[in-house]
Symmetry: D2
Subunit: 277 residues, 4 copies
């Protein structure tokens, strides 16, 4: 088993030297090392994969001592991470994630599927995943979110994945999972934010449509973008035809973004991401 | 030499039969035939390439007799079309079009280059194309546009191509060239309309940038889209880096759109295009 | 319900007129019409979607009378087509097809999954699809193919889909399903035909990898290509990493090709396809 | 002015630490740092951009002392590099490079254009670049190459760029410019190596065509690949149509590869490249 070390801090001379000195001092082998300096903000980012499982709290303390104040350090072992998926009625993203989960294509362990509809129950069950139907009828938004939250907490997930979950969360809900909710939006954001993006794309007559996976913040469709992809369309596509064609990239973009997050390749910095592919 | 016949009208039964009957009655060979029906609006589009040069006014009259009222019919011979290019300071789109023009890659004949700056004069001259520098200093917008318009009129162009012309035309100017001004916008519209799209893209942290070629209408960046393309970017791209990377697709998208227009493959219908590729 | 009419024949003047005359004579509405003439061979292709279900044998006879000798005419109702999927051990293509089948994304009805291994049994069963394990051990190739063939015949499929079926069929087997076996090859053919294409791609150091869906003929990896797609890779990809990255396009390319075939958009002509998208 | 340090050597523990220690010991700021370890071969690659111009021979000696035997070290200042372009009759790649050269889009200085035909003389001259027409008529291959070589030597170029130069060099010629000749091949190698790739692609009926830029070795079309790109085609493309469509990617791929080489982002290792984008 290997470990991943993520560091971001104010840039200064000698950072790479000082960090790798600590690792070398432990006689550990660096398998992969990536750095980036955002020159506008003078901020430094580094992702290091270290062989073995020997980095400990003492190491982190010695590392902190050579880094500028306010440095963020994250040390993770490479392992399967628990996640919970939320979906509504559309099966393509959920089905794709469950397939990948079942066959080890993603380093995660899907603990449960939660939905505001019963539609996808049989799909989840066919993969042996617990399914929780939490309808919104007769409840306030806050009551519904509390129920969802309670259900999720039982699984202690590292990440929530919104696989075409067609409800908007309140800022209060989002705050409970800072930088830990991943959404797929069915347009090439910031084009066609909000409702019915394929209808909007059809009306505008675009020649390319897209999908965007991003972290959820309390600003709708404004969270840091992790991954995007597009496909060509033309005048023969109806809005429904665009929606159908878009499903292939929606599921692939969501899976790609989730993989990047699970492999600890993504830093969130202000409203954007630094992604070490 | 061949002829291109473009027809659009309300859809009804027997249109293809009735149209091809007229062509067959003249004993002419159809080289290529494309149709499309917009089912939302019930509108029919057809592009037919006919061998030879024998379609005449009498043919058009007999054709009109079998089509619904209000049908649009356009008959064009395949030949080089006169165009005028407007540019400002950036050479990549202009240079690319002049190269393609010089080596016969586009069925057009660039008559002149008009600019509000002198920067690109030597580029135009090196390709033997007249260059007109019409500075804006000391003139009102209307006065400047009148000068530009007067200069253009001398060349009787079929199309105006805005190859990174960084000024916005007044509705009065646009009205003079209905459906005949082709622009390249350096973003994936409708994302990042308006000024500084690469700066906007950088601020938003998108993972893909694009370029859009469209007809100019009196609504800024809202005209019917002809062609779009995109390239991936990431966190290592500054706004300037995005601008640099974007140039390759800007010039290719503009050239592709212009080729489609020159080959009479584009219908404008309401705010969108039907493009028979 | 609508009907699809596919015609291919030697090109001659008046074909579109003569064909649409027959349709108009029946007072039927053409929803969509696409033609193509291969100028090298002088061969004509046409795909017409006609409203309703009224085209019958009498119509086909009257149509044949106005077409050149040797014309191929195919009339199909738009409906779900029975297919059988063959797979070996890899779940991504099979799982993707089963998901699309279950949720109506493809106009087909998967009747059974046949495999030379038991690995994918639970996947098929979880979607309620019969699974037949036909091991090769202790059998000659011909004996095995006979068993497979016998099993398939019970389902009378219109098409066989090889979803990463890792065995090569004998010409005798292929002859039983002319133009009806669809394969996915995990490379951008004709690059890396044969075994271990990702290993070959890795060794060659290519910067893009691809997937190809094609009809199976008795020439290995030489059948008419239906659809292809690619993704970028770089020096950080191992052969395994390429294989993993390639799965996303393999499944999408196979599903796209199958959709084109099921919707009767594909003509096979000599060693190539004409695809009306 | 900044410096670029390229190191490749056998991998061992502490390399990043030992290298950055030397840089830090000089009190220099690292602007960018990229590493890669090829795990199959156990080979280490690192590209470091250091602020300023202070790395000297003494530094290189101290660096060599901490690296394994046989390490390759290359230190380059970031500046415009002299190149010579060879072309034959097609203007699109040459014209594109001359435009980029004229407007500072590439960190190079085109010293001359050499051709076996006179066709492109006016194009080179219009950009103020010396043009040398060296016809092959009445000469042996070796005699011609000697003349070309003599002409090139007068310009002492760092790199030769084959911008659709349609002759194959002898191994003797190639040996004079090890890892310094960059070619554009008009196919997605290794598909369609050799002559007439678009004709081959047309015959095979592929749905995507490509272009490949690679270093020239004494094995035709087998040199290390730097960059590749593709575009979709379909049955309506003739071989000529594919050639025309392919020009846009040929020129962009060649320019992209040249940019990578000029910016010292490319390592050649055995038959492949490591490219730090």
């Amino acid at each position: 088993m290997n470990q991943i070390l993520l560091i971001d801090c104010l840039d200064q001379k000698g950072l790479v030297y000082n960090i790798t000195k600590q690792v070398y001092g432990r006689n550990l082998n660096i398998i992969s090392n990536q750095e980036f300096v955002d020159t506008d903000s003078g901020h430094f980012f580094m992702r290091t994969v270290v062989e073995g499982n020997n980095l400990d709290d003492a190491f982190l303390r010695s590392l902190k001592a050579v880094l500028p104040d306010g440095a963020n350090i994250r040390l993770t072992a490479i392992k399967k991470r628990p996640i919970v998926i939320l979906a509504t009625k559309e099966p393509h993203c959920l089905g794709d994630l469950l397939l990948r989960n079942a066959y080890g294509e993603l380093p995660c362990d899907v603990k449960a599927v939660v939905s505001n509809h019963a539609t996808l129950q049989s799909l989840a069950v066919s993969f042996g995943i617990p399914f929780h139907h939490i309808p919104v009828e007769g409840m306030s938004r806050i009551e519904h979110e509390d129920k969802v939250s309670e259900c999720i907490q039982g699984y202690s997930p590292d990440f929530l994945v919104l696989a075409k979950y067609m409800r908007v969360f309140s800022p209060e809900f989002v705050t409970k999972y800072p930088s830990r909710i991943i959404n797929i939006h069915h347009s090439f954001l910031p084009a066609f934010a909000g409702a019915s993006p394929y209808r909007q794309a059809f009306e505008r007559g675009v020649k390319i449509i897209g999908a965007t996976s991003h972290f959820v913040t309390d600003q709708l469709d404004e969270g840091p973008i992790i991954s995007q992809n597009v496909i060509p369309v033309n005048h023969t596509f109806s809005a429904d035809g665009m929606a159908q064609a878009g499903r292939d990239i929606e599921k692939n973009v969501l899976a790609a973004a989730l993989k990047l997050v699970l492999e600890e390749r993504v830093f969130i910095f202000r409203d954007k991401t630094v992604v070490f592919e």
